[in-house]
Symmetry: C2
Subunit: 426 residues, 2 copies
Amino acid sequence: MGLVVQKYGGSSVADAEGIKRVAQRIAATKKAGHDVVVVVSAMGDTTDELIDLAEQVSPLPPARELDMLLTAGERISMAVVAMAIANLGIEARSFTGSQAGVITDSAHGKARIIDVTPGRIQTALDEGSVAIVAGFQGVSQDTKDITTLGRGGSDTTAVALAAAMGADVCEIYTDVDGVFSADPRLVPTARKLPRVTYEEMLELAANGAKVLHLRCVEYARRYGIPIHVRSSFSQKEGTWVTDQPQDQQEEPGMEQAIISGVAHDRSEAKVTVVGVPDKPGEAASLFRAVADAGINIDMVVQNVSAAATGRTDISFTCPRSDGQAALSALDRVRGAIGFEQLLYDDSIGKISLVGAGMRSHPGVTAEFCGALADAGVNIELISTSEIRISVVCREEAVPAAVAAVHHAFQLDATDEVATVYGGTGR
Amino acid sequence: MGLVVQKYGGSSVADAEGIKRVAQRIAATKKAGHDVVVVVSAMGDTTDELIDLAEQVSPLPPARELDMLLTAGERISMAVVAMAIANLGIEARSFTGSQAGVITDSAHGKARIIDVTPGRIQTALDEGSVAIVAGFQGVSQDTKDITTLGRGGSDTTAVALAAAMGADVCEIYTDVDGVFSADPRLVPTARKLPRVTYEEMLELAANGAKVLHLRCVEYARRYGIPIHVRSSFSQKEGTWVTDQPQDQQEEPGMEQAIISGVAHDRSEAKVTVVGVPDKPGEAASLFRAVADAGINIDMVVQNVSAAATGRTDISFTCPRSDGQAALSALDRVRGAIGFEQLLYDDSIGKISLVGAGMRSHPGVTAEFCGALADAGVNIELISTSEIRISVVCREEAVPAAVAAVHHAFQLDATDEVATVYGGTGR
């Protein structure tokens, strides 16, 4: 008997059948004696359809109105899920983000949660109801306008509610069985991970694993909320994301696994600034120009300066969708900085190896690079954190690179086969 | 320069093209120097589609959740209308019923407006914005739950906002050119009425004219809000609903027209209770039983008691959709009241002649019945008010009856031809 927060993505509630299946699962959890708070995304392609409608009347819809429009999606799914649960004889009440007390800043389309005041949700639970909450949305503290949280918003809503209400677990239901040691579409022998730490999950999410979003994991780590990532299409145990290292809870004496998994990302582009004067402050000016355009830089590499010329090359990666904006921003400071040339390459891929055990195993980088070399993959950039190594290679080399690394670190499953059900939630 | 409230029905905002057309009209009103508050219904068939979705998961969805679901419809249309206006370079902000301060009781699906506190709307106007408000919806004063106002709800929202904000006019945009002397689909020579009084409009709306709903007209009369019913598909002047008799304003010396128009209604059924003991209180018991089932009775006729039996027959009409419920309610009191038989007839139609001038022209009833007789229409029930005569006849006789009465009272147009654009708004 405890408090369970469950989040269902758009693919889990894509149609009436999916909603009825989700309702069965929620009802079962309630009947098992738990208090249940459910966070839902919009049904299937609803959000895309609403965006399409907006674009039919306006090439650049005002952000406030776009948020007002898109939040209709979760309003529909939450009400229908509540109806489906009520039809099973269990009382259910739906609440918008605003009604659920999800208070945000005023940054429409990418609002940050400032506070959660779930008084109405608690009352509903106290009165024996299941509470259904619209994910992805909140209300601005200052303007009282409706806001949306941006990508991964529904996951973040679920974790934020779980934190505010002291839930025992936040279950994130999706269309895969959990977090895998690699993308099963690239590596059919990928293994479902029974456990990963917040730290590892952050690195996986930041480097291309799509099953959980970075913000949601950050939020869960900050408040110590255990996340259970699992499939809404099966009853299998999924992946637990906690502060306990993998496998340690089950068999405390066992040595911790070194590597959790391999992530990849084909959404970035590489920008190279050629012939930057090698003086203090020049690199800072470059990155300031890019940051001022609202673009997040991921990896950065600066070559050793050529003594003869007193100039150096600086490469960085950023989202492809921001690539042209980054070039424009840099071009505007070309005169002030005096670099020679801008190169742009959007045919790159990134492979990352993540594992908390890497800290105490110095040979990992060598083995990683060796595996890539054996597979004929050329490394263009390298960056590392305490528990991650990432490299940039040609985009078309990604599948072979992921498989080679996955195999080299003995991550292949011996029995369990991954199931991918298609689609991704918001 | 004044404050104009405009309401656009579902057929006016059925798709992106319709919304852009509506936005042009709103922008033109704003550019003419007026403050503009716009009330919108859900786009086209959205409400029906949402109801269909609800029925796929639950045969009898909880009313609270159905309201939550249906209000997504206006949320979508209002946001998209606001975007379309913004795209014309005019600032527009959308507001839900709750944000607009439409406070209701807690009767989900048929909530009554208790109060309107349009502070946020006024602020938006003061800051130079057009305000777009979701029709049909409000928020319960007691539970803070989202409510819907039931049929004609968006018209009522518009008039209520106009009253609360002291608007100069409430323009109701629809898919016909105004209020006609009869349904143009039955009487091609029907005339658009330049003016009708609230009183006449109430009788027309209560007796089958669908262009405005009773509640909205009642609200407008109570607060003295002039309504201008007009088409969103043309620039023509429509019909003004005010407290001034028809034509009197234009030509004060002219005699008032006797008759405004002919309404008809094919949505009612007739129930006859045969052999009711002719004692005080028996009729009251019958009607109490029907009222307790939540059914509104329209016309009532009680025959003269047959002296020999001491029994009488009582007939009444009610909505066909409530017919079976009325029979069940009456059957439950059959023993207590001791009537003999229940007859049910849902093949009836009702024709009503409405005109404020009827008060001072005693021959109207005779002429009305004569016209029906000449057309071979048999009268089954008659009821009258000060400014209306209604009769019940066979359903299939309705078109001929309407045309005959329309012609007998010289209501046919001499020049203007009615245009029906198809569909009806909510």
